[in-house]
């Protein structure tokens, strides 16, 4: 019967101390009754193997003990959908772009690779890993705390169907967004093309920041792209309804932009900083930090364009053809 005592001891280990002896005594009685019944059926005592089989049939001690414990969860079913939603947002808006930028820099930027060898690469990876860890841990701690301290009645009682968001028409384009895109596109496009043409980014107070001459070739690549994108925004503003063609064109604009930006990151020609109005050391720091920031910004922009391009392609594939849309509208 030593096996039975070992088994009971293992079950007791997982139980709260106030209930350990009581539950173990009842389990012991149940096991003994079962052993006695088998023995009377067989007309002999059970051997150790038979007792072992009987205990195995009852399940692992941890699982047996768990059934006596109240159901517990870090984040309960009421808050879990919101917690899951936040995690997905964190994953999509923070972790995927961060890792994408890192992979992009490692794959396409020889300058980045040259400065991030050996331990430096490991350090970058550790930063990414720490960010990921923090990004998942913080929401978990917040929701676990809410689960314990917040009265969740407001979630179940304090709501009204009137306050729910309006029905979303995924094919409809917001005129406000198109208007903003149009205005921003024109202003940004002119500014960007003017920089690519003149190669002067900043020239005031004794600080002159210019682009290396290699940048000039990008003027002719960005010019049609900017014009086309602005025209697309204008069409979207006038006819605010997505069609498969327009989704496809938007995907193409973003994918081409991503390609161009990756090309810039890959063959990065540095910004030239001439700072006559400041000490040489400060000028060097400015040069280094400005180049690092610009290089990283292009990598981030490339990843964002790539993600938007892929998303738009996916949406284009799901968008109904114009004819089906028309028949839907007629039916409505």
């Amino acid at each position: 019967m030593e096996l039975i005592e070992k088994y009971l001891q293992a079950v007791k280990f997982w139980l709260p101390s106030s209930q350990q002896n009581d539950i173990a005594a009842e389990l012991r009685e149940d096991i003994r009754s079962e052993v006695e019944e088998r023995e009377s059926q067989l007309g002999r005592s059970l051997n150790e193997n038979e007792v072992e089989a009987l205990l195995k049939q009852r399940g692992r001690p941890l699982l047996v003990a768990e059934k006596y414990l109240p159901q517990r969860s870090l984040i309960g079913p009421v808050l879990f959908p919101a917690y899951w939603f936040v995690l997905k947002i964190v994953l999509l808006c923070y972790l995927v772009p961060s890792i994408g930028v890192w992979i992009g820099l490692v794959a396409f930027s020889p300058q980045y690779r040259a400065h991030h060898l050996g331990l430096a690469a490991l350090k970058d990876f550790l930063v990414l890993w720490t960010n990921a860890w923090v990004a998942f841990t913080l929401p978990t701690i917040v929701f676990a705390t809410l689960e314990r301290v917040k009265n969740q009645n407001w979630l179940t009682n304090d709501w009204s169907p009137r306050k729910l968001p309006a029905v979303r028409d995924t094919q409809r384009i917001s005129r406000a967004n198109s208007g903003f895109e149009l205005v921003f596109g024109v202003i940004f496009g002119i500014w960007w093309l003017q920089i690519l043409w003149t190669l002067v980014v900043f020239d005031t107070s004794g600080i002159r920041v210019t682009l290396a001459p290699e940048w000039h070739k990008f003027f002719w690549a960005f010019l049609p792209l900017g014009v086309f994108n602005t025209a697309l925004s204008a069409v979207n503003f006038v006819r605010p309804y997505w069609t498969r063609l327009r989704r496809g064109l938007r995907a193409a604009v973003n994918l081409v932009s991503a390609g161009l930006l990756f090309f810039i990151v890959k063959d990065y020609a540095p910004l030239l900083v001439q700072a006559t109005g400041m000490p040489a050391d400060a000028a060097r720091v400015l040069d280094k930090s400005l180049n690092l920031t610009i290089h990283l910004s292009f990598a981030i922009a490339a990843v964002i364009c790539l993600i938007i391009g892929i998303l738009e392609l996916w949406r284009a594939a799901r968008t109904e053809s114009k004819q089906v849309q028309l028949s839907h509208r007629v039916a409505t």
Binding site: I23, D30, K67
Partner: protein, 127 residues
Amino acid sequence: MTQGTQNDALLENLRLELRRGCLVLAVLAELRTEQYGYTLRKGLADRGLEVDEGTLYPLLRRLEGQGLLASEWREEDKRNKRFYKISRDGKLVLKQLLGEWQTIGSSLEEILQESENGAHRKISASS
């Protein structure tokens, strides 16, 4: 996982869900007569309601915690055993649950009867 295994697992889950609610009723009803855990388990199994000890004993504790059962340790055949019996509150709840059970049973019976009649009507209309 094959389709057959998936269906078996699904059926087993649904069967367990269906039995879970009935089990409380069966335990309360069985404990109108005082019994200890093992005889209760055997009694339920003999009537076709097999229940493993990992389900039964926690359930007994829960029902006792809710005041529907009362228990005491007593010596029988030179062994200490815990005897359970339905409490006064338990009897009231059992009566209400049995009423609910009968309502569910007759509603289900009616639904099944209606769908059977509908199926018959469809067959005769098509022939």
